[in-house]
């Protein structure tokens, strides 16, 4: 008898699926959905007056994204009528990030600015946000260009990668020798662009530089970068330089160099925060940290989010209060915050991020 019931249920399900009854939209919630999708005119879920701007980092709880959080919150205090909601997953997992964005859509915020872990995976959810009348932006890492209204970038990727390559050659003091490249995750689009640009710079201008292996992933973890650098130093005793992108990687690399006492033999250059870098810059285990101010990036994201919600678009050369002069690319969407900043032994102490 039970088996019969089960069979019946299974048959029903199959019939339903085969009959093509899986629709794009649910029949029942459609009308309500339209009523709710007022976007900026509708009451925000918080019940507070003003604009709700949600800023979603790749993950919360690492120094870089903590710094952009304080910047974003600062902008929320400075600007009139803006509530900033800075929230993201606790691990850099694309599926966890999508859930955060879905919950923000339920909250009915006015603007969502996301730094996608995997640009492809946020596509469906960003589409949904747009359908609900929410303004969509990306920051820190580009999402699908078609979907976003504004894309906030810290630096020009090409310029940044080439700049790091030059800094590494400068630190090595020679245009010959073996170097290795460390990265965060192999699929992080911005890191890959920097590495490509750096490789171009080496190919074009420093033919004597030899890259010993494929880029080495360090999972955005200092510990992993440290371990992999130790392995590198063992496998390639003649290694002269390490180029490390992603913020924890240079620290791990420098830590390994410091431990082995190779400060004078191996140069390390990478993208890291000045406060974290200070102890390694001190003894030359890390030669230069190249980055930008993530706090300013958070600030700029919120400032542009407010402009967007109010129906304005940024212009090339515009002066943004608290950030400086921005560049807008030809597409009218991509905003570049400014040139990269170098942090060295001399100036690292001047920064608080």
């Amino acid at each position: 008898m039970k088996k019969l019931y089960l069979l019946l249920i299974a048959a029903l399900l199959l019939v339903g699926i085969l009959a093509g009854c899986v629709a794009e939209n649910s029949g029942s919630s459609d009308s309500e959905g339209e009523a709710e999708a007022g976007g900026s005119e509708g009451e925000s879920a918080g019940g507070e007056e003003g604009l709700d701007i949600a800023v979603v980092p790749k993950l919360v709880g690492i120094p870089y994204f903590n710094a952009s959080e304080s910047g974003a919150n600062e902008a929320g205090e400075d600007l009139e009528g803006v509530n900033v909601n800075y929230t993201g997953p606790t691990q850099a997992d694309a599926s966890a990030q999508v859930k955060v964005i879905e919950d923000l859509i339920s909250k009915n915020v006015d603007v969502i600015a996301v730094a996608p872990n995997d640009p492809a995976s946020v596509e469906p959810v960003l589409k949904k946000a747009k359908e609900d009348g929410i303004h969509v932006m990306d920051w820190d890492t580009p999402a699908d260009k078609e979907l976003v209204d504004i894309s906030v970038k810290q630096v020009d990727d090409e310029e940044f990668g080439r700049h790091m390559a030059q800094k590494l050659v400068e630190a090595m003091g020679t245009e010959e020798g073996e170097i290795a490249i460390l990265t965060g995750g192999l699929s992080a689009a911005n890191l890959n662009l920097w590495i490509e640009a750096a490789q171009k710079e080496f190919d074009e201008n420093y033919p004597g530089i030899e890259i010993v292996s494929e880029k080495i992933p360090t999972d955005e973890k200092q510990q992993v970068a440290y371990q992999k650098t130790l392995d590198l130093l063992k496998s390639y005793p003649d290694l002269k330089g390490v180029l490390a992108v992603s913020t924890p990687a240079p620290l791990g690399a420098a830590q390994a160099v410091q431990e082995e006492g190779l400060q004078d033999e191996v140069s390390v250059v990478g993208s890291a925060l000045p406060t974290d870098s200070a102890p390694f810059l001190e003894d030359g285990s890390l030669d230069t940290a190249v980055l930008w101010d993530p706090g300013k990036l958070g600030y700029l994201t919120v400032a542009l989010g407010k402009m967007l919600a109010e129906g304005e678009m940024p212009e090339d050369g515009q002066e943004i209060e608290g950030v400086g002069e921005i560049t807008v690319k030809e597409d009218g969407k991509t905003v570049i915050m400014g040139p990269p900043a170098d942090f060295t032994k001399e100036n690292a102490a001047d920064f608080d991020f």
């Binding site: 089960l6 399900l13 339903g16 699926i17 009854c21 899986v22 629709a23 794009e24 939209n25 649910s26 029949g27 029942s28 919630s29 309500e32 959905g33 709710e36 879920a45 918080g46 019940g47 919360v60 709880g61 909601n85 929230t87 993201g88 997953p89 606790t90 691990q91 850099a92 997992d93 694309a94 599926s95 966890a96 999508v98 859930k99 955060v100 879905e102 919950d103 923000l104 859509i105 339920s106 909250k107 009915n108 995997d118 640009p119 492809a120 995976s121 946020v122 596509e123 469906p124 609900d132 995750g185 192999l186 699929s187 992933p217």
Partner: protein, 320 residues
């Protein structure tokens, strides 16, 4: 009025739902309820897979990478112009191959599950990285995206229907079949099970195969929902799934565990995560709250078990 562990958990789930409905703005909106239904299945399936393994006293640390690898299988098929059905079949085959490997080393060679799956976790991750070079594979057909984003009969998300279906199948398999009974027996006492004529290695093999099948279903839903797959797809579910299984009353040493308990636990996690997000809590706080609830329920279970034991010994003494 004696309530089982699972019923108490069900009440906790209900309570959580009502409390959040009262305090979290927009928690009860139709938008949010459907969004929760879309969010729950992928994690729920992984948690069920983990539960089945934990019932045998083992653990499968490679489960999320099995899911990711199986997702890669589906993605490769879809991006090379094959249809939806072949993609689903390949996803399941990829996962079963992983499960068979785990099962073989654990059941036939007899290495401890935690060590084997720790190893295969890195192995599968390596295989995915070798295939994808760490990039994401994306851009599937609209038909495929209906699996994770579509509505069944225009009423409820298809993915939740799939989840409920597999929850029922799992429950029936565990409680109504001889394999299911052997799984519980093995988890309680493998030696006694062996001597009572059960082929332990066959039972275990099927456990790891079944877990990987559930991981594949979860992977199909995830790849369809996110329209992409990447090496760390769902990686944050790994320890959460252990937590959900244990919160659901599954004994970490094996021998006890019910599907409905795990389902309640998954629901509790889902409500809390979503509700606290709506309240604008910091994500790290959400983890703290979930951790606290887990410890609380485990402590409650521990003391209620202890209390039962004391009562039983007293009864025994009186009888003597």
């Amino acid at each position: 009025m004696k309530l089982s562990k699972e019923s108490i958990l069900g009440l906790i789930a209900l309570g959580t739902f009502f409390i959040l409905a009262l305090i979290a703005p927009g928690f009860l909106s139709s938008n949010n309820i459907t969004s929760m239904m879309f969010q729950l299945p992928e994690f729920g399936l992984i948690a069920l897979a983990m539960m089945v393994v934990i019932v045998t006293g083992g653990i499968d640390l490679s489960i999320t990478y099995i899911a990711a690898l199986s997702g890669v299988g589906a993605a490769l098929m879809l991006t090379n112009g094959y249809g939806i059905l072949p993609a689903i079949i390949v996803a399941i085959l990829f996962a079963l191959a992983c499960g068979a490997f785990n099962g073989f080393v654990i059941s036939k060679i007899g290495v401890s599950p935690i060590l084997v799956t720790l190893g295969t976790m890195v192995l599968f991750e390596g295989i995915i990285l070798a295939i994808t070079k760490g990039n994401s594979i994306s851009g599937f057909s609209d038909g495929y995206s209906l699996i994770g984003n579509g509505y069944y009969l225009g009423l409820v998300p298809l993915s939740i229907v799939i989840f409920v279906l597999f929850a029922i199948i799992t429950a029936v398999l565990l409680s109504k079949t001889s394999w299911g009974r052997s799984v519980y027996m093995y988890g309680s006492n493998e030696t006694a099970t062996l001597f009572s004529g059960v082929k332990n290695s066959r039972v275990l093999m099927k456990v790891y195969l079944y877990a990987s099948l559930l991981a594949a279903i979860s992977a199909i839903i995830m790849t369809s929902r996110y329209n992409s797959v990447k090496v760390d797809l769902g990686s944050s579910y790994l320890l959460q799934s252990v937590a959900a299984a244990v919160l659901g009353g599954t004994n970490i040493h094996g021998g006890y565990g019910k599907v409905i308990g795990t389902v309640y636990a998954v629901m509790i996690f889902q409500f809390i995560r979503n509700g606290l997000n709506l309240l604008g809590f910091h994500s790290s706080l959400v983890d703290v709250v979930i951790g606290a609830i887990l410890i609380l329920v485990l402590a409650m279970n521990f003391f209620s078990d202890k209390f039962k034991k004391v009562a039983e010994t007293r009864k025994a003494e009186k009888a003597a």
